[in-house]
Symmetry: C2
Subunit: 403 residues, 2 copies
């Protein structure tokens, strides 16, 4: 596709000090929340440029913000009222809106997931790569959490050595039946493309890989409509292989009223435990655990068996608590995105990073459908899309996706 | 085999009030510990009858207990000095000692695991079934822990409803390299038949199934000699399927200096979390979680999203702490076994229960070797033994096991 920007093919340039005019595509729960944050002045360097929703009765709500309202995102994008858009629309539509905006010189902040399946996510990502003069971000608000930023820096520093094992149990995504019945597209194969994997857990699928690396393969069991009357998965168990003997387990569900949020990362020279995305315990060794193991005399081993010596006494433990303010993360993503549009900052979550979460989610589905371990390094996206389309067809409510 | 008991085919009958004379087969770490407990009077209704070890230099140590010493367990069993034996010998030999004792009218308490592979475990269990006049127990000392007894009673009562999901991360089995180098048979395929699965984790493999039921299948990844110079596994990741949508994950390792011990059991009407085999949190709902989900108005869902309503507030939470005294569990197993021999109590851990842990451990190995999910309900024990024998052959230190 050639670029046919409304401003003669040049991207919307926003000068230093000037606010970025954001077009909100979709004035639903998320879009409405972002509009409120921005109009309340919680996002420095950004203002609302226009609002778009296919439901014309949203116009009244949009008028509160004193900006133009559109029912067609194409019109809004070419209207000259916005420098950038955020896509708070059903997941399947993210790539099409993103590509249209980029093709018309408008910067894009795509809601997670970047796409429902890797083929469409790649299409957007590759299109954006050909329009590198435009900013293309993905809304991974949890990357702005100082807790995960600190962990990412710690792990990237190499201080804790190579990864051995990691588990994340994240079942705090409790959703009652009524939640699923809000819209026809929710929790369907054709409208949403999955359940907890594509709606709630993309945050953790991103953070996990951001912290621990990209797995080589996955084996998974998903429970479809297990404790909710939905077609898609309300529970996921996945076991991944990172290579070099490092492995991990990812567990998520929307039916655990007393959800667990516990992340463990075991490395050669230390261990991280994160509870409730809030409390971090870092145990550090001053040498490789294997050196400790090799040097320990049998006398000390015998003391250990009698409970007279605790090997955990060989580590130094640090505990940190992190506070979080509701909405702060979303405002920070919007602020960082606006700063990136003005050329002042790097994006915290470049859109291209979005492929990892989509691929892992797709591979988890595929493994659960086939009963086999699935490779991520050369993921068979055609096999996935065929089986996804079978489910969309069986549902009989939405069109299948082009292969 | 026919019974050729030394007392004319009749089992050793021990009268009420009389202590059971226990023969200790193997005066190593475990056997020595049991002998000390018994001689210190910590096991009511039991005394040491004789001691046996193939190492004749253990005779001096045995003399401290003032009982006959043998280097051949057969001689001890037929000597008339013991009513029962405990088999603290390398795992492969448990079945042969057990069968010999039962065949000579002597009661048997087999150390865990009952056998290394299901074929030999079954042989012992079936032999014992044909000698039901004799007591045949397995040394699952952790079943005596009041914490697990209470949980077993709670789950068996049905109060919490059907199982949805369970995970046990039990990496508190830290063992340094020197531990593995204590004996030639340790951590070898031919001498021990596995690593953490056959030596340390059998306790949890038993408890987990005792509490949650027997899985139908398992997929697993084991790391062999990952962070220890051993042939067998020092780390295990297993995902099991209990049927009816209930699944679970079991993770264990011997290389985590800051081990985790965390068991979660999620059911339809509640959730159990056990930390460090000591602290139990039980969250109870007064109805099925699904009924809560179905009844919740959207208004409350919206409040939840704003952090104004916490669904966990719908449960009643009870926290219990359990103390444990070192050795108490072992003394309790011995006491219960002696009482069973006198016909006064039921066995807490009948030997036949030992098959479940052996089969799950074998299936975990087999899955990790083949990269495939393995059925437990019709476990292919020949396929397992063939692949085990390949590893024993490659080691070149021990004889392969008869197919």
């Amino acid at each position: 596709m050639s670029q046919t920007s409304d401003n003669n093919g040049r991207p919307h340039a926003v000068a230093t000090g000037e606010p970025v005019r954001l077009g909100v595509v979709g004035l639903g729960t998320e879009g409405g929340m972002y509009a409120q944050f921005i109009s309340a002045g919680r996002v420095p360097g950004m203002r609302i440029g226009a609002i778009c929703d296919i439901l014309s009765d949203k116009q009244q709500q949009a008028q509160e913000y004193g900006v133009p309202f559109y029912t067609d995102y194409r019109e809004m994008i070419t209207s000259g009222t916005v420098d950038a858009v955020v896509t708070t629309v059903p997941h399947y539509i993210h790539p099409e809106v993103g590509i249209y905006a980029l093709d018309h010189g408008v910067h894009v902040l795509v809601e997670k997931p970047v796409g429902v399946y890797t083929a469409q996510a790649r299409e957007l990502i590759e299109f954006a790569a050909d329009h590198s003069e435009l900013i293309f971000g993905v809304f991974f608000n949890q990357r702005t959490n100082p807790l995960y930023q600190d962990l990412r820096a710690l792990l990237a520093s190499g201080e804790l050595g190579a990864l051995r094992h990691t588990t994340w149990t994240i079942t705090t995504w409790w959703r009652p039946q009524g939640y699923y019945e809000q819209s026809d597209w929710r929790a369907t194969w054709g409208g949403e493309g999955g359940g907890v994997l594509v709606n709630q857990a993309p945050h953790q699928l991103d953070l996990w890989q951001w912290l621990c690396g990209i797995p080589e393969s996955v084996f998974a069991k998903c429970q479809y409509g297990f404790r909710r009357a939905i077609a898609v998965e309300d529970e996921v168990n996945a076991m991944v292989d990172f290579g070099d003997g490092a492995t991990g387990t990812f567990i998520t569900a929307t039916h655990d009223l007393v959800g667990t949020d516990r992340l463990e990362i075991l490395c050669d020279r230390g261990k991280i435990v994160v509870e409730d995305s809030r409390r971090v315990t870092i145990a550090r060794l001053n040498q490789d655990e294997r050196a400790v193991s090799d040097a320990m005399p049998m006398e000390q081993v015998r003391e250990m068996f009698k409970g007279e010596f605790d090997p955990a006494s060989l580590v130094t433990t640090e505990v940190k608590e992190y506070d979080s303010v509701w909405g702060q993360q979303h405002c920070e993503v919007l602020r960082n995105f606006a700063a990136a549009v003005r050329g002042e900052e790097e994006l915290l979550a470049p859109g291209g990073d979005g492929i990892h979460g989509v691929r892992l989610a797709n591979a988890i589905h595929l493994s659960s459908w086939t009963g086999r371990e699935v490779a991520l390094s050369d993921f068979d996206e055609t096999a996935y899309l065929k089986l996804l389309n079978e489910r969309i067809s069986a549902e009989g409510k939405f069109e299948v996706r082009p292969l």
